[in-house]
């Protein structure tokens, strides 16, 4: 197996008496796309928040590219190459789409930047084009629809050149044609070495995109397998996929 980019061991998190993550272990290799699945309340988003430094872990260790980022700040996690998006991204009212996308690449810009004009470069235009945002590029970012909002947040995260991109339900509200485009774009970044960890409920998207799936239920990992193996796992069927699989109605 290739060297691990992200290595999580025994990570736990509780909110009061409610244990949301129970000694979770998993890893991601560079250039791997892993889906994180599970019913609502299974701990997917909490896992993402803990890994990205938005929530402290109660126990366990998180290593990213050989650096210990357990309970590191989001800024430190990002400095080691981890960039995340949010389930319900909110965008600024007084910045254009183009400016938000530019901001993805400017997190290191200090005061020295006042002496030189930054450039909206070709990569920015390519991302706008790929995510079909060129026609709205000069509108306030908050004026975008819910689906476009998701697209902009994924594009902005990609613009910051992550080693590990963590996406939280990136296709919710996005038009089906664009989901296919998103799969193509994300695979292109994977081929360039970016690892992706995606929380998603759309099984078609998961099947097209991911090489591996991790399924969480009540804070525990109940499966870690290829997407097409999920329906053969009775625990996954019971906890997440439901009886439709048994009747052969699933999209998988």
């Amino acid at each position: 197996m290739a060297a691990k980019l992200l290595d999580i061991k025994g990570v736990s998190k509780s909110f009061g008496a409610h244990r949301v993550l129970d000694a979770v272990d998993f890893s991601i290799a560079p250039g791997e796309i892993v889906g994180l699945l599970g019913p609502n309340g299974s701990g997917k988003s909490t896992a993402l928040n803990v890994i990205s430094g938005f929530l402290p872990a109660d126990g366990g260790s998180i290593r990213l590219a050989d650096a210990d980022i357990t309970n590191a700040s989001p800024q430190r996690a990002t400095a080691h190459g981890l960039v995340r998006t949010f389930q319900l991204p909110s965008m600024p009212h007084k910045m254009t789409v183009r400016e938000v996308l530019q901001a993805g690449a400017s997190s290191k810009a200090g005061l020295g930047s006042i002496f030189s004009a930054f450039r909206f470069d070709e990569e920015l235009e390519t991302l706008l084009e790929a995510f079909r945002l060129t026609h709205v590029a000069d509108l306030p970012a908050a004026a975008l629809s819910g689906g476009q909002n998701k697209l902009l947040s994924v594009a902005t995260a990609l613009r910051s050149k992550p080693k590990l991109l963590c996406l939280d339900e990136p296709t919710a509200g996005v038009h089906p044609n664009l989901r296919a485009d998103m799969v193509t774009i994300l695979k292109r970044y994977r081929d360039a070495g970016v690892a992706i960890r995606v929380v998603e409920h759309d099984m078609l998207f998961i099947r097209d995109l991911c090489s591996r799936c991790v399924v969480l239920d009540r804070g525990e990992i109940i499966a870690d397998c290829a997407p097409h193996e999920l329906e053969d796992n009775p625990r996954v069927v019971e906890a997440y996929l439901g009886k439709a699989v048994e009747k052969g109605k699933t999209a998988l």
């Binding site: 800024q75 990002t78 005061l111 004009a117």
Partner: protein, 296 residues
Amino acid sequence: MFDFFIHVASIACLYGVLALSLNLQAGFTGLVNFGLIALFGCGTYGAALASGMGWHPLAGLPAGLAMAALLALFYARLGRKLSSDYWGIATLSIAEILRISITNEQALTGGAQGISGLPLLFADLKPYDGVPRLALYALVLVLAWFICQRIVKSAFGLAMKLMREEPQLARSLGYDLDAIRRTVMLISGAIAAFAGFLYAHYLTFVGPDQLMSPETFLIWSMVIIGGIGNNWGVVAGAIVMQFAMAYVPFVKDALDLPTDFVAAARLVIVGGGLLAFLLWRPKGLFPEKVGGSRGR
């Protein structure tokens, strides 16, 4: 009348610089600072310190800037722990604590009496000293405006706006919000202290009454009325407000009203103006432009 106009215009320029300083914090970075006047006070007391100690008057400028830097860093440090609204209350409290401390301290600050007899700039050009002074203040205002414009249109300006509007998104992209807050506070603190230094050498007197909290709210009214997040707007707001305040006594005389009308009318202009704009034109006379960064 001409001298009075020059006087009002001079003060308006200095308030314009203060409005730009507040706009950098509150307008572009979302730092709701109700204690701005204390940063201004660092400049005035820097000048007073130089005068009291018998130093060269110009030595008061680095002294004022150093005090402002310390206070700005302290404000910024508080921002790590406190959310925006609580930070605003904390800055107001600190500014008041400093003012009360100065009022009760005698040796360095002269207490409530303050320190007088500071040298007036261009005093040897009397009776024409007002014009070169106004020219200097106008030049400082233009310079401050230019610096602020460069900052908000740069990549760093994008970081400030992202922090103001979507701090969570900014953190997820790796922005160091503490560093942004610190940098903005240091620059705007230096701008406010510079205005304070010039103000002290204009009035030739420094006292704690210049640091009353209504002064902060006067600057806030200039920013809100002019257009928060627009550097042209806040300068216009400072000029409009300063002239409105200065010409109240003429209205009193014209209408033959009692003397206490002046103070009351000024309060109404600040409070009423703030309220009216917040209710009916919250973006101010010159609203912030979307998409103003210096790309391409």
